[in-house]
């Protein structure tokens, strides 16, 4: 019996293949976009976790010298005082145009890292002598194997899968020569077992600072906001996809009313029927879900390299560009597909179970009623208010997103009421019977189309909001780069001594030499980079300050005052008039806050003598050079030749800007891609809704046709109707999108990254989006219009014949 019922139900799909395709596509799109985002996030997070484990990051306390590297003799002093520490030398080299991170560890005393264990347990483990003595061995990540192939001048390579991408692990003795940093140590890992009664760090090695794992830079934490942004986008795509599912399921059920009535007349109990339909829906959800997973996997695979590049550029986070299939991800995707399908069908199922036994196959019963719009609208207002209250009460990034979700959903729920009021008003003002009919007809179609219009509203608002945010950011960022990067040349010397030589040689040839000296200090908000600056008008004229006390720069040079970056200001809530406390016991008055986009960490600027008094002997390896721009290129080459500097050590301003902008643009590739995809999904939702309405269309257009309108005219009106509705929605989406942009710029960005951006408006972009929407609506209406055009007049006549 069950089998027979199921076959009857399934016969519907055989007859309406397009509906089946639409339904499966809806489920697949919703699942696919959501899963793609989840896959990217999972992959990135797995990369961080892997890197942390592989490199034992964040597991041990560390000792650093805020002034730079630790000398070998200090390491030996600590060791001979009993301190059990392992030396690490970090750096990067460029090989074949690729930047490769190098980590040199003391293989004798460092805790065994997974890559080392893997190597030693391999079939052909290297001899210790090979690892520890010249030329040594490089353990490299698999992606680097082809890079090193055939390269002379490097130690032999051992490939290890237990390393993050673009990473070289080697003994510290090898790293010294590879990085050309003989006798230097970047940090000391404090081993877990220390002997009794060791003297204090301050007694043995004054100036060195010990930090616990908690205060070390944690990639996962840093990138959380980035991933939350992606997740929010994924959820939005999912919601939009579900509109399609909802539309198609509603359509299918309306088509099956006759069939269901017959089945019930034959004695099939309603609960039994509902169970079988549920089974059918779950099966369809599974099929669509699997398709979605395949789709998601490909989307994620296509987007991951850009995301990886972004994360590397922005946070230095090691992310593999390779996607691997994770069972948890697939399972979650399928559950989302089933859950989403059922949620989107619950309305239709409920209607079905409430249907009177002998109800006719009419379709009017399936439509929402005008009175329910008011209820929906009230719900919408409640959601907007709820989101706002949530943010006001809790604050923070998550609450920011809740507010955003409330705003978007609430606005979507308000849409039917607003549209109906608009249409009613327009219809009153219409001249002539056809125009009046068009408006009235649109109004009467609104219940069936409102869901698709909500999807469109969301997609458009997201596009406008995110587009405005990205473009505003880019504009601000470009202006900021122009201000910030004023030196014509940026030079990095090999060491302090070479820095000295270079600056002496350059002094007579340039307008100004601006040393860039910095130290890393611990602060309650995380690591803080303290920079020293010389007294030069370049800074006071160009440095972009977003908050300042009077005479800020003069006070920096005369009163031991400090400027801090926006990230630090917002994180620690410090503003001009407050003081900044630095270890061991320096308190500096804050006289200004500067914007510092793209930097995840806190930063502060003091006068050079102040830097020296806080941390003596900071090396001077980097310089900005002010020089006549026309001679910059020649001077750069001369510098490289004269001091044997690699190309990357002498960078011109334009190159630096181009590099920064390239990283910036990469950051938003994913956002734009998701934007376009969401809009595509919304267009598809309109199509499904129009197809749903098609069945009810004939009784409505037949009288108009009978009154003398040709089929071609009716088809045109069909197109116009769709375009007009989409246009109205697009107009309404604009203020919503701008509101969204404002929330993103002034709330989400501040919470996520620690900077607030000014909002710029881009009307040309809106116009383009508006036209794109019209086009999408026209394309979506084209199929129903074409059907109308080709409809045999006999069918239209039948409407009257069949009328009861």
């Amino acid at each position: 019996m069950t089998r027979a019922i199921l076959l009857v139900l399934l016969s519907h799909w055989r007859m309406h293949r397009l509906q089946l395709v639409t339904l499966l596509t809806g489920i697949a799109l919703a699942t696919g976009l959501w899963s793609a985002v989840q896959a990217i996030n999972a992959e990135a997070r797995a990369s961080y976790a892997r890197a942390s484990d592989q490199l034992a990051l964040g597991q041990f306390d560390e000792i650093r010298d805020p002034a730079g590297s630790i000398s070998l003799s200090r390491y030996v002093d600590l060791r001979r005082a009993g301190w059990q520490v392992a030396a690490v030398l970090d750096g990067s080299i460029r090989i074949e145009g690729q930047t490769v991170r190098v980590m040199g560890i003391d293989m004798v005393s460092a805790p065994a890292l997974p890559a080392v264990t893997q190597t030693e347990q391999s079939a052909t483990p290297p001899e210790p002598a090979d690892i520890l003595t010249a030329p040594g061995r490089l353990l490299v990540s698999p992606d680097l194997a082809p890079v090193f192939e055939g390269l002379d001048g490097y130690p032999p390579v051992i490939v290890s899968t237990a390393l993050p991408p673009s990473f070289v692990l080697t003994d510290i003795g090898v790293a010294e020569s590879l990085l050309d940093r003989s006798g230097q140590i970047s940090r000391l890992i404090v081993l877990p077992e220390q002997p009794l009664d060791i003297p204090s760090l301050g007694d043995v090695a004054p100036g060195l600072i010990r930090t616990s794992p908690a205060s070390q830079l944690d990639t996962a934490q840093l990138t959380d906001s980035f991933h939350l942004n992606l997740s929010a986008f994924g959820l939005l795509s999912f919601a939009v996809g579900l509109f399609i599912v909802h539309g198609t399921v509603g359509l299918a059920f309306s088509h099956r009313r006759g069939m269901i009535r017959t089945l019930r007349a034959l004695g099939v109990a309603m609960p039994h029927l509902v169970r079988i339909i549920l089974f059918e829906l779950v099966t369809l959800a599974l099929v669509g879900g699997v398709l979605g997973l395949v789709l998601g996997f490909f989307i994620a695979g296509a987007l991951l390299p850009d995301v990886a590049a972004t994360l590397r550029g922005l946070y230095g986070a090691p992310v593999d560009g390779q996607l691997s299939l994770r069972p948890a991800w697939a399972l979650a995707g399928l559950l989302m597909a089933i859950g989403g399908t059922l949620a989107a069908s619950v309305h239709a199922l409920w209607r079905l179970s409430e249907m009177p036994l002998l109800a006719g196959p009419g379709v009017q019963a399936w439509r929402g009623s005008a009175t329910s719009w008011r209820i929906t609208a009230v719900t919408g207002v409640t959601m907007i208010a709820g989101g706002g209250i949530c943010f006001a009460m809790f604050g923070g990034l998550l609450a920011g997103f809740v507010m955003l979700a409330g705003l978007l959903t609430g606005a979507a729920l308000l849409l039917p009421l607003v549209l109906s009021l608009l249409l009613a008003a327009l219809s009153r003002r219409a001249n002539g019977p056809v125009a009046q009919w068009v408006w009235a007809d649109m109004w009467s179609q609104l219940p069936g189309l409102s869901l698709a219009m909500m999807a469109l509203l969301l997609a458009l608002a997201a596009n406008i909001g995110v587009g405005t945010m990205v473009s505003s950011f880019r504009l601000t960022f470009t202006g900021w780069l122009d201000q910030r990067l004023v030196s014509e040349l940026y030079i990095t010397a090999g060491d302090d001594a070479q820095g000295q030589l270079i600056s002496e040689w350059l002094a007579p040839k340039t307008d100004a030499i601006l040393p860039i000296r910095s130290v890393e200090l611990p602060h309650e908000t995380g690591p803080l980079f303290l920079y020293g600056v010389v007294d030069d008008p370049t800074y006071s004229e160009h440095w972009p300050l977003i908050a300042r006390s009077p005479e800020a720069w003069a006070r920096v040079h005369n009163d031991r005052a400090v400027l801090i970056n926006e990230q630090l200001a917002r994180r620690a809530n410090l503003w001009p008039g407050d003081v900044l406390t630095l270890p061991p016991d320096h308190t500096l008055p804050i006289v200004g806050v500067y914007s510092d986009y793209g930097n995840p960490t806190g930063q502060a600027i003091v006068a050079m003598p102040v830097l020296d008094s806080i941390v003596p002997k900071v090396p001077t390896r980097r310089f900005g050079i002010r020089v006549d721009p026309s001679v910059a290129t020649d001077l750069a080459q001369t510098l490289r030749d004269r001091f044997g500097l690699p190309t990357s050590a002498v960078v011109q301003q334009s190159a630096m800007k181009a590099q920064s902008l390239a990283i910036f643009d990469k950051t938003f590739v994913v956002t734009s891609a998701l934007n376009v995809l969401t809009l595509g999904v919304a267009g598809f939702a309109i199509l499904t809704s129009l197809l749903t309405l098609w069945t009810q269309r004939l009784p409505q257009v037949a009288p108009i046709w009978a009154l003398g309108q040709t089929r071609a005219q009716l088809a045109r009106l069909e197109l116009v109707r769709s375009v007009l509705l989409a246009g109205l929605t697009a107009v309404l989406a604009l203020p919503l999108g701008l509101l969204l942009a404002w929330v993103l710029l002034a709330v989400i960005n501040v919470q996520a990254f620690g900077w607030r951006l000014p909002m710029h408006l881009f009307p040309a972009d809106w116009l383009r989006l508006f036209l794109l929407t019209m086009l999408a609506a026209a394309v979506a209406a084209a199929l129903p219009a074409l059907r109308l055009l080709r409809l045999p007049p006999a069918d239209l006549l039948k409407v009257f014949a069949n009328e009861r």
């Binding site: 390491y75 060791r79 010249a134 010294e176 077992e193």
Partner: protein, 344 residues
């Protein structure tokens, strides 16, 4: 003490590399090898011999607290050369490993340190004598007066050692044969130390006095292929006489050797087979049965003694594991000493 040679090769944290060393006993490419008739030069020979593969400065002491309680301490510095030379910097091929332990009747505390040469973190210099790794040291003018210190997570000690007798050379004037195949080492000892100082233990500080024994040995080809481990005894009898005796356990039969030392330092080498070793009882420690009670017979000298571990659980759970602890001697002679056993 070929045992210790193996130890040294495990100096490496890459534990699996150890397996690569199983066959090391047989080859000594590029390294110097011990020669009979070698003339020791002091103080130079107290210092390192980087052209030999392995070397150690190995001190054990039997100590007593004011209440008569027995204690034992070990202080060892191993040198292992990956290549037969020394160079400055991280890429020095000389590796150093320190082992230190304090044994009480109820507990055995131990610690291990690793370093490489070339950077000053560990090393030995002959004159003035200084052997060190991290904060551990054994230093003095010559070997006659030494200051000794080591520390671990649960213990530390600071001791002074004063020699009251001459150096003793094992084998043929310091050329000590280790197998029937002819593997050998240069081997001498200073077994006449009186020791005093303080042990710092979890239960508190303990002032101790007692006697110590220093072994100096270097070689490049320590073990014969079939040899799996050894039992090594250094015994000080209440008569003032001393006995160093070892048994290398091999598939082709055991190889034994011993040195009989009179109270005035005169010594005699006893060839393979002169000493008999009979395990009397075993103790289960670290999941293996280790003989902690022995009968040692040396008929030539009228010695028939029972050797009893004071702390049967004196297991060194270091990268290369072995048993090392103080013993009490009873029977024809009474006294105390140290026992080391590997390969169980």
């Amino acid at each position: 003490m070929n045992v210790r040679a193996l130890l040294v090769f495990l100096v490496f944290p890459l534990s699996a590399f150890a397996q690569g060393y199983a066959g090391l006993g047989t080859s000594a490419e590029g390294f110097s090898t011990p020669k009979p008739g070698y003339e020791f030069q002091f103080p130079q020979d107290h210092g390192p011999h980087p052209d030999y593969r392995i070397e150690w400065w190995y001190l054990t002491a039997n100590l007593q607290g004011a209440d008569g309680q027995d204690y034992g301490i070990q202080w060892t510095l191993f040198r292992s050369a990956l290549k037969p030379f020394e160079s400055d910097g991280w890429q020095s091929p000389q590796l150093w490993m320190g082992h230190a332990a304090v044994t009480t009747p109820d507990n055995h505390y131990f610690s291990e340190r690793l370093s490489r040469g070339g950077i000053g973190q560990a090393g030995v210099q002959a004159d003035p004598f200084d052997a060190w790794i991290d904060d551990w040291h054994m230093r003095g003018d010559g070997l006659d007066h030494l200051a000794l210190a080591a520390s671990g997570t649960e213990f530390s000690y600071d001791l002074t050692l004063t020699a009251s007798g001459p150096l003793v050379f094992h084998g043929d004037r310091g050329y000590s044969v280790k197998s029937a195949d002819g593997q050998a080492s240069h081997y001498y000892s200073q077994p006449f130390y009186t020791v005093e100082g303080v042990l710092r233990l979890p239960t508190g500080d303990v002032a101790v006095t007692g006697q110590g024994w220093l072994d100096r040995e270097w070689s490049s080809q320590p073990l014969s292929e079939d040899q799996s481990g050894w039992d090594w005894f250094s015994l000080s009898f209440d008569s003032g006489q001393k006995l160093m005796a070892f048994r290398l356990r091999g598939e082709r039969g055991d190889f034994t050797s011993a040195t009989w030392i009179e109270a005035d330092g005169k010594s005699a080498t006893l060839d393979d087979g002169s000493v008999q070793f009979t395990p009397l009882a075993t103790h289960n420690v670290a999941d293996r049965d280790v003989p902690t009670r022995w009968r040692v017979s040396l008929p030539d000298k009228g010695v028939e003694v029972d050797v009893n571990a004071i702390t049967p659980s004196a297991w060194m759970g270091t990268r290369f594991e072995y048993w090392e602890g103080p013993v009490r001697v009873s029977g024809s002679h009474t006294g105390q000493g140290y026992l080391e056993m590997t390969g169980y």
